[in-house]
Structures are given as C-alpha cells and as structure tokens.
Symmetry: C2
Amino acid sequence: MASMADVARRANVAVSTVSYALNGTRPVAKATAERIRKAMDELGYRPNALARGLASKRSRNVALIFPMLERGLGLTEMEFVSAAAETAGDLGYHLVLWSTPLGDTDLLTKLTRQGLVDGVVIMEVHLEDARIEMLRRNGVPFCMIGRTGDNRDDPFADIDFESTVRDAVAHLAGLGHRSVGFVNHSQRSFDTGYGPSVRAARAFEEAAAAAGLHGFSRFCDDSPAAGREIWRDITAAEPGVTGLIVMNERASAGVLAAILQQGGRVPEDYSVLSVASSARVSEMTYPPLTTYHPPAAELGRLGVQVLIDRLEGREVPLVQQLIPCRLVLRDSTGPAARPHGAGS
Amino acid sequence: MASMADVARRANVAVSTVSYALNGTRPVAKATAERIRKAMDELGYRPNALARGLASKRSRNVALIFPMLERGLGLTEMEFVSAAAETAGDLGYHLVLWSTPLGDTDLLTKLTRQGLVDGVVIMEVHLEDARIEMLRRNGVPFCMIGRTGDNRDDPFADIDFESTVRDAVAHLAGLGHRSVGFVNHSQRSFDTGYGPSVRAARAFEEAAAAAGLHGFSRFCDDSPAAGREIWRDITAAEPGVTGLIVMNERASAGVLAAILQQGGRVPEDYSVLSVASSARVSEMTYPPLTTYHPPAAELGRLGVQVLIDRLEGREVPLVQQLIPCRLVLRDSTGPAARPHGAGS
DNA sequence: TTGAAAGCGCTAACAG
DNA sequence: CTGTTAGCGCTTTCAA
C-alpha cells in the first residue's frame, strides 16, 4: 500500500507538500500539484484514514447510535439508516453503527472515549434521556433524532407529531367524523417518556377539543393481536365511533382485521387513518391504509448533515427542525357513516 | 483524555508494560497488573482506537457493504443489519456502513484502500459480481451474504432457497394442490443474475416436476400493483390454479387483493404461500400470510462472526452455510379446492 | 518480569 | 511557494 512518503519521493517534493496538496490546507504551485496528482494515481495512493485521524485529531467518522429495542426496528428506521449512511459518504465521512440498549450510558461512554468518531447522531431520544446528558457532559458533539423535554440549544431533527396529529384530526373531521379515537403505542412507551407517544397523545386531545368532536384515546401494544383487542374494546365503550387514528404500525393490521371480522367495512363504515407508518407497510393491508408517512430519509440526511456541519466548525445557526408527516391517500378513509356501522 | 503514558506514569511502569497488560500480549506480574488496572480506572482510561489501529495495522473495524437499491430495503435487511452491528460490538469490533451502488467497484476500491477496516461483509451478492472479484484481487478479507455462481473457497452465509422452495412446493402438494404457480421477482432481477431469483426459479421447476404437479412461473415487479396484474394474468392463463408461491413481498399484497376483488377466498379457494418475507410484513396482510421467514438475524450474526474469525487468524474451516427459511403458519394456506374458485 | 525506543502514516507548526 | 521536523497514542522488537 503506497504511503504519502512514496508519493512525495516520486513527485520530488516533501511529504508535507503532498499533505498540503491533498487537503488544500496551503497553496501549492500548479505545476507541483500536478506532479503530485500524477504520482498519486500512478501509485493508486489512498490516504490512510487512521494515520490521518490520529495526527489531525479528527477521524471523519460519525456514529449512529442505534437502539436495541424489544419491539424491533421497522422500515422507517431502515430508511433512516440508509439515508444517514449515504449522506455521510457523500460528505466524506464514514458512518459507524453502535447498537446499544436504550439505557446503557456506560457502554456509550466507553465507545465515545475511544476516539473513533468525532460525533454522534442519536436515535430514539426520550423526553428524559440520560444518554443526552452524558453526551453534553462529556462534550461529545451530537445531533438528536427526536428531542428531550428540556431541550434548549442542542440540535435535533424530529417528526412534527403535533402538526401531523392535528392534520389527521382535521382530515377526519373534514370527512364528517364526529367521534374519533386515537390508538397510541403502549402504555409503557408513554410512561417511559417516549416522545412520540407523549406528544401525539397531547396533540390529539387538543386537536379533538378544538375541532369540537368527541375524541378518546387508547394505548395499545405493538402487535396485530393487541390491535384486534383494542378494536373490540373501542366498539364496546364507544359505540358512536366512526373514525380512528392509529399511530401504531403493527396494531393497525389487527384493527382492520377486527373491523372486517365484525362485519364492518372500511372506509364505508369506519375510517382508519394511520400515522407515522411506512409506505411499504401501509400498502400491504386490506384495504391499503391512508397514511401520514414519516420523513425518515429526510431525518437521516438532516441528522448527519447537521452534525457534520458542526464538526467542520461551520458558522451554522442552531438547527432544531420539525418535519411533518406527509399524507398519502389510500383506501381506508372516507366520509363518515352513521354510527353503529349501519352502512351508507 | 488520559493516554497510555498517563497510565504508565501513575502506575510507575513503562508504557509498553501497560500495553502488554492491556492486551495480554505478554505475561505481567500480578501486582503490576493490578497497579495498572487501578491507574486505568482512576483515570477513566480508554485506549485510542486510531492509534492502536495505526500501530498494530489492525483497526478492529469491519464494514458492511450495504446496497443502494432502487427497490429499497426491507425489514429483512433491517434485521440483518441490526444483528450484524450487535455481533460486531459483542466481539469487540465496530461496524462501518458503506452504502454503495451495486455496480460501483471503483468506490469500493477506494474505501477499501483507506485502511479503515480490516475486512468486509458484503450483502446482495450476485451470481457474477465484480465487487467480489475486486475483493479477491486486492486481498481484502470478506464474507458474502449470498454467493456467486463460481464460488469455491470464499466464505458465505446465504438463505437456502433451493430447500425452502422445495419445502414450499411440498407443503402445497401435501394440501392437495395440483396446479401451483411461482411468483418471482422481476425479470430484470433474474437477468442480472440476482441469486435468489435464479436459484428459486430453478428449484421451483425441479420441485414441481418431482412432485408431479403442474407448475408455472411468472416474473413480477416488486409492487402491489404488479402483484394484482400478475394474478389477473395467471387466472387467465392457468384457470386450474389453486396454489401460489410468492417470493416477492411487495407483490404479495397485490395478489391477495386481486384474489379478493375477483370474489375469490383465501385460503378456501386459493392458497397463497409467501417465501422469504419478513414476519412484520406477513402479519399485516389480509388474511395474514403463511410464510417461510428468512433467517435474517442469523445471517447477520454469522456473516460478521465468520469474517472476524478469519481476521483473528483462527484455525477455522471454511464456512459456506445455507440456512433454510422457517415455516410460520398463518391463514393464507389450506387444503386445495376444486379449480375455478368454485368453493368448498 | 520489565524497559527503552523505533516506528505506524499522517498533520501542522516552524523556518526558509 | 516549499521543506524539516516534532508529534498524535499506541504496538512491538530488542535488550536487559
């Protein structure tokens, strides 16, 4: 493997000149630069990333802190990771994947101190997140996907759950629905301060009240079975229901199945509107779900872009960006029917 | 950030001794070792990954070569990546994600020469794959997920499509189906030598013949719309069909929808058996799909394990492992009905 | 059982 | 505009 010294020798210059030419850190005469360039590709030279990092104290690696979740990762996460990796590459960085359990601050501290990465993008941030405090304390540059409750001046990119849920409620209200339910993630996710659960729950209450309709909420485990059960529960407790907003991808299939099984029709009798569910999954159900798709790729791109901007010391304003989900109409929503699934 | 010199000073030993103690590369007196250990955690010392890598010429990083596909990544890939990252971490390695277009050998060569990683796990290997040839030529240690056509002595882990498809055919044959179709990925995927498409197609032909049933195949683009279309095509051309094996996750929903739309019932009139489709997606359809689930996590684990074994120079036999998909019974298959969807 | 010292390949003063 | 040189923090000979 050709080293910088080899290149220097072949071009008849000092190694430093090669370095300067390579990084543009200092002006180099045109002729010299050309000789160096030539020597480089005759030798197939590639700078050694480790040596460069060690000397410059900048590895040009960033880590993606990637949750190990019991509930597993979804397609949204896949899109996110994919976009993050691509963006890092485009900006001349490498993306390292750190798969860590949510609570494990110690592991994160260890990883962080190894000097392998210049900063981190951290997923699945909770309202109170010990990991964020650790990063702040240790001066590790970071960008959050999601955000803490107390956040002030740390950069983040997150889904705008508030506006998305508001839009969803407005969408159903506009179709004439007067009694609308919200199916959230599990009670546990809410209790542990999982941002989406907490913010969406609050936003739903407010939006329903503002729209003057009867709104009610349910927590629901992330599984089709739980979705089926929650529908039974809802029809028992809320006989007037005609519209449902579901922010729980796995449960949504169960809800649809339960409705059909009871002889209900979607969307003639009930409208089901999915929130923050990936395109690939929403198109699989019967009927295909009208959905607010999460901006997964945008978030991935933005997260690493913002982080790298900071690392490069650019004079950038603090980025705290909220991106709403985008409505994709499919076949699960329509004008409200009379209650009790009486048909149209 | 405390360095090794700091630790050495505090423990009253030479840096080399600290190094030896840390790596167990040379015996160190018990008392000395203890003093060093103490100094280390008083200082919160963590060895610098770059320096260590530069000096030892082993970065303890491995890359995952991660395809940038037009058709996008699925949940199977997510599970795979997740398991790979976790395994790498468990073995004391870091996983770097290299998102590269399938054909881009040059990019890969560049990345590879930077000395950031000791080896690579490469996904989405095609029957003829220029990337593999490049890795071989440049002496980059690797482990394939999938395999080339000419493969001899390179390690790989792959889904056993042959046996899986054979099992799938046997499953339907056992239920009394005599006319069975196979819905593959796109014609293009087959033509470009995408292993799963090619191997499964061949395996289906053979298994159908061996089982003495009428088998026919169709290529199908990866989308629900294409799935719907293919079903119309099939019912027109193969009126006797009662069973379908679908190795195309996105198309499967379309197939189901088209069947229902034509008034057919699943599984009473038609059995639909999904192959290599993730659990999270198969459970979303109506009815939920009986599926042969891909061993994504196992492959991810195995891939990095095998690679790291080689990197550590362990005396390991060549691993070329095929893992079959695992049958999960859901509601889309049942005993064969009389043809024409006449019902039971 | 331990130390001293020469690099690993590069960057970034410092000096011309 | 270019060269010399001292590290970056570690591993690993060589020598004791």
